[in-house]
């Protein structure tokens, strides 16, 4: 079905069968089902295969530096609170290179959606370990296998009191789309960690492995942060669904003095500061 976000004639750089294709479809469908208009959306990404996603959509985007999508997205939202802002990239980008920004974004709680394509490997650099790779995974760099503990993004996000934390699987388009829609609708920072296979380089965490090693969260109250943390830190299979959601926290951009009384985008504001500036200058006389 045609979608306003479809970008005709694109030369796609993703491998056939890559989970990125599904995630692109999911995001476009979620956005159009929510009726978010094209001129109100801004996609922000870092670097990597996942970060190429905005290229394949008809929407404004800022494809920035490796690991830096979150500070950029936070600032875009601050400069124009009217935009729907989605920051998306891979696990290496968001959790490795951008780890400090991941924590800071959760603390700031800007009203942005953070979609992380988590394939537990570095694809664009051809198969090195990512922060979420399992212990023992071998590569041309980790020649004897990974020995570091994998990063647990959900547990970290819940520990830092992120206001929306979810995990999905690219193989389940319907559930993932519903989660992404809720994440976009959520007012505040929303993390959606999407598990996806890397067909070219990750021979361990394959589509079959994900099916085998995931389960749908049931009988869980997303308002219960302790229960959410317990779920996120449980050993074994990975739970899919919304872990935690809290609606009571103020968002970053609305707490900035610049946006407290005036919510129009910064570029639209009257730049006439002459009288005020003259007063301020006179205070030095």
């Amino acid at each position: 079905m045609a979608n306003i976000y479809d970008m005709p004639g694109i030369d796609n750089a993703w491998c056939p069968g890559c989970g990125d294709h599904s995630i692109l479809h999911i995001i476009k469908t979620a956005l159009s089902e929510l009726g978010i208009s094209q001129d109100n959306l801004c996609m922000v990404s870092g670097i990597g295969q996942a970060a190429k996603l905005p290229q394949y959509m008809k929407a404004s985007y800022f494809n920035g530096l490796h690991g830096r999508a979150l500070p950029t997205a936070t600032a875009i939202k601050a400069a124009n609170t009217e935009l729907t802002v989605i920051a998306e990239s891979g696990d290496g980008d968001m959790y490795g290179e951008g780890g400090n920004h991941f924590m800071a974004a959760i603390r700031r709680n800007p009203d942005i959606t953070n979609i992380v394509h988590n394939n537990m490997i570095y694809g664009l650099t051809k198969g090195q370990a990512s922060p979420t790779s399992g212990v023992g995974m071998k590569s041309n760099i980790q020649v004897d296998g990974v020995f570091e503990q994998p990063f647990n993004p959900l547990a970290v996000a819940i520990a830092l009191n992120a206001t929306f934390v979810a995990r999905a699987f690219s193989g389940d388009m319907e559930q993932t789309k519903e989660i992404v829609k809720q994440a976009i609708l959520h007012k505040g920072y929303a993390l959606v960690d999407i598990l996806q296979p890397c067909v070219s380089f990750n021979k361990i965490n394959t589509a079959a492995w994900f099916k085998e090693n995931t389960y749908y969260i049931e009988n869980h109250n997303p308002a219960d942060r302790n229960a959410a943390f317990a779920l996120a830190t449980r050993e074994g299979k990975l739970g899919l669904g919304i872990y935690y959601k809290y609606d009571g926290r103020a968002v970053f951009e609305e707490q900035l003095e610049a946006n407290k009384e005036d919510k129009t985008p910064l570029y639209k504001r009257d730049g006439d500061r002459q009288a005020k500036l003259e007063n301020l200058i006179n205070a030095y006389v």
Partner: protein, 564 residues
């Protein structure tokens, strides 16, 4: 014979961090200017919160003397280490006012003022700051009413008792001054016109310039001495609607500013060399995505952590070459508060018009010093170079001059796609050799447009010069005074407030000189190297200083005398 100090008096206070040197400077500086004296203050301090030796120079003069000098006329050491710290600058012409009990035995002649005893009599050690302020103001016969007003304004919230005690402390200071004036004569004329001038730091002047330039977004990470501008913007955020965020690190700071710029803000960062080193990839990002951003670097000595609270001009090379790849940029180096104001405003305009990173290079000396300067003229409101997009809008349209109309997300029916990868006109990734060349040339073309608007260097001294002293940034006021001290004919100072791109007139100025001397607050002569690489001119000599302190007018004159 009483010592006589005329027209230009250098008062230096020195004590450990936290002892109140800063408080005294804050109390007296505005009062001097209000009373019609020209004032310049410069501080040197250690990177610690307590202990050590910090000093402040307060230059009181009949006409502006806007720079640091080594000479100390009146020295007020607050402890033993302070006297040691200033020892090399104290001569037989220096009058030392000190509490003998605090500074201990010394062969120097000291006018003994038992500050701590007097302070205790009034109510505690805390009053010694106001006593010292009273002494300094009293020496210049400044009307006591000025001090009384400042005391009432500052302490009225704390109740009458505190106000009255401080007034007694101030009066005590004046009594002491009167006693000292029996041995010392101070003659500095007042000028009513000084009352119309401003007294402000370079940091505040840059902040005001940013507001005048339309800045509405700043993200930074605190780092001395770049924090002053950041704090100024934070203080102004409510009134001027500036979005202010302390980032988690400098990498986030620059990426935020670039993000805000992409969304249509006029954004900036303020930092110092080490922090800026972390921002370099972001500078390249701004250039590639053609996003305006203003970067203020307040220089301090490196490498690495270096001397955190000292001054140097050694990050020109860093600003010049920061960011991988080739792209246009502009670098301003204001040398006094007026230029801090006007050049910062211009930096925002250039960044906005040419969609590229623009730098302001200051340093610890200029950001922390207070200057007396003519009031700033507020420029016309900024023109916003942002277009409303149509469905066929492309962000990186190839145009004859290289500047593409700048659309932002959410404004118009088109989309604004920015990319850090090489891209085509629509902003999509490309690896086409042809497109790469077109895009690279389009960006580089903007260099000529920036050069066309380059700020001309300023010539001070003889227009028919044979000797030309070349400087950039904060050394200008020092060299102007050194030139006056030298009193040589056919000698001039050429001051660059824009160091890149070098104004086209540079060659003409150099051509007319027989002798070219570069003076720089660094060891390698970074500006000299730049000028030589652009113009081919070699210097006849240079003076470099890299001990963490600014040049002083008297020492600079001495050095110039040797070399000219």
């Amino acid at each position: 014979m009483p010592k006589v100090y005329k027209d230009d008096v250098s008062v230096v206070l020195c004590g450990e961090a936290g002892a109140g040197v800063q408080t005294v400077e804050n109390v007296v500086s505005k009062i001097f200017k209000t009373a019609g004296f020209s004032l310049f203050t410069s501080k040197e301090y250690m990177s610690r919160i307590r202990g050590g030796s910090n000093s402040t120079q307060i230059r009181v003069s009949s006409s502006p003397k806007n720079c640091y000098c080594d000479r100390i006329d009146v020295c007020i050491p607050l402890d033993k280490d302070a006297l040691k710290h200033l020892y090399g600058r104290i001569t037989n012409d220096t009058t030392i006012i000190a509490d003998k009990e605090a500074v201990g035995e010394t062969e120097k002649h000291i006018i003994d003022v038992p500050f701590s005893k007097y302070a205790k009599e009034i109510g505690g050690a805390i009053y010694s700051n106001i006593i010292a302020s009273g002494v300094i103001l009293g020496l210049f016969k400044v009307d006591f009413a000025h001090l009384e007003k400042v005391i009432r304004d500052s302490f009225s919230k704390k109740g009458d008792e505190i106000v009255n005690a401080n007034i007694r402390a101030g009066k005590k200071g004046y009594e002491i001054a009167e006693m000292i004036l029996k041995d010392v004569q101070i003659e500095v004329a007042r000028d009513e016109k000084t009352c119309e001038k401003m007294l402000l730091s370079g940091a505040d002047a840059i902040g005001l310039g940013a507001l005048a330039g339309g800045c509405d977004f700043i993200s930074s990470y605190p780092m001395t001495p770049g924090t002053g501008v950041f704090a100024f913007m934070a203080k102004s955020q409510k009134e001027f609607g500036v979005a202010v965020e302390q980032a988690e690190d400098e990498i986030a700071a620059i990426n935020m500013s670039v993000g805000a710029g992409y969304a249509g803000a006029r954004s900036m960062v303020s930092t110092s060399g080490g922090g800026f080193a972390l921002m370099c990839e972001g500078v390249s990002l701004a250039a590639m995505t053609e996003t305006p951003v203003v970067i203020h670097i307040a220089q301090r000595p490196g490498p690495a952590t270096g001397l955190p609270t000292r001054t140097e001009q050694a990050d020109l090379d860093l600003a010049l070459y920061a960011g991988h790849g080739e792209f246009p940029r502009a670098i301003f180096a204001p040398g006094n508060p007026s230029d801090c104001f006007y050049m910062t405003g211009k930096a925002f305009d250039i960044a906005d018009k040419y969609q590229t990173p623009v730098f302001i290079l200051s340093d610890q000396y200029i950001t922390d010093s207070l200057f007396t300067c003519p009031s700033f003229k507020v420029p016309e409101p900024q023109i916003k170079n942002i277009v409303k997009t149509s469905p066929d809008y492309v962000r990186y349209k190839i145009t004859p001059n290289g500047v593409s109309p700048r659309g932002v997300p959410g404004y118009g029916s088109g989309v604004a796609c920015a990319d850090s990868d090489e891209h085509d006109e629509t902003g999509r990734i490309t690896e086409s050799e042809n497109m790469r060349v077109l895009m690279h040339e389009k960006r580089l073309k903007k260099y000529d447009l920036i050069l066309n608007e380059a700020e001309e260097p300023e010539l001070h001294g003889a227009s028919d010069y044979e000797n030309l002293v070349v400087c950039w940034g904060s050394t200008v006021e020092v060299l102007k005074e050194a030139l006056a001290l030298l009193n040589y004919g056919r000698t001039a100072v050429l001051y660059f407030k824009q160091v890149f791109p070098l104004p086209r007139s540079t060659r003409d100025y150099l051509q007319r000189a027989k002798k070219i001397i570069f003076v720089e607050n660094n060891a390698n002569g970074q500006f000299e190297t730049l000028v030589r690489s652009v113009t081919g001119f070699k210097s006849s000599g240079h003076i470099h200083k890299y001990d963490g302190l600014p040049f002083s007018a008297d020492k600079a004159a001495e050095e110039l005398r040797k070399i000219l």
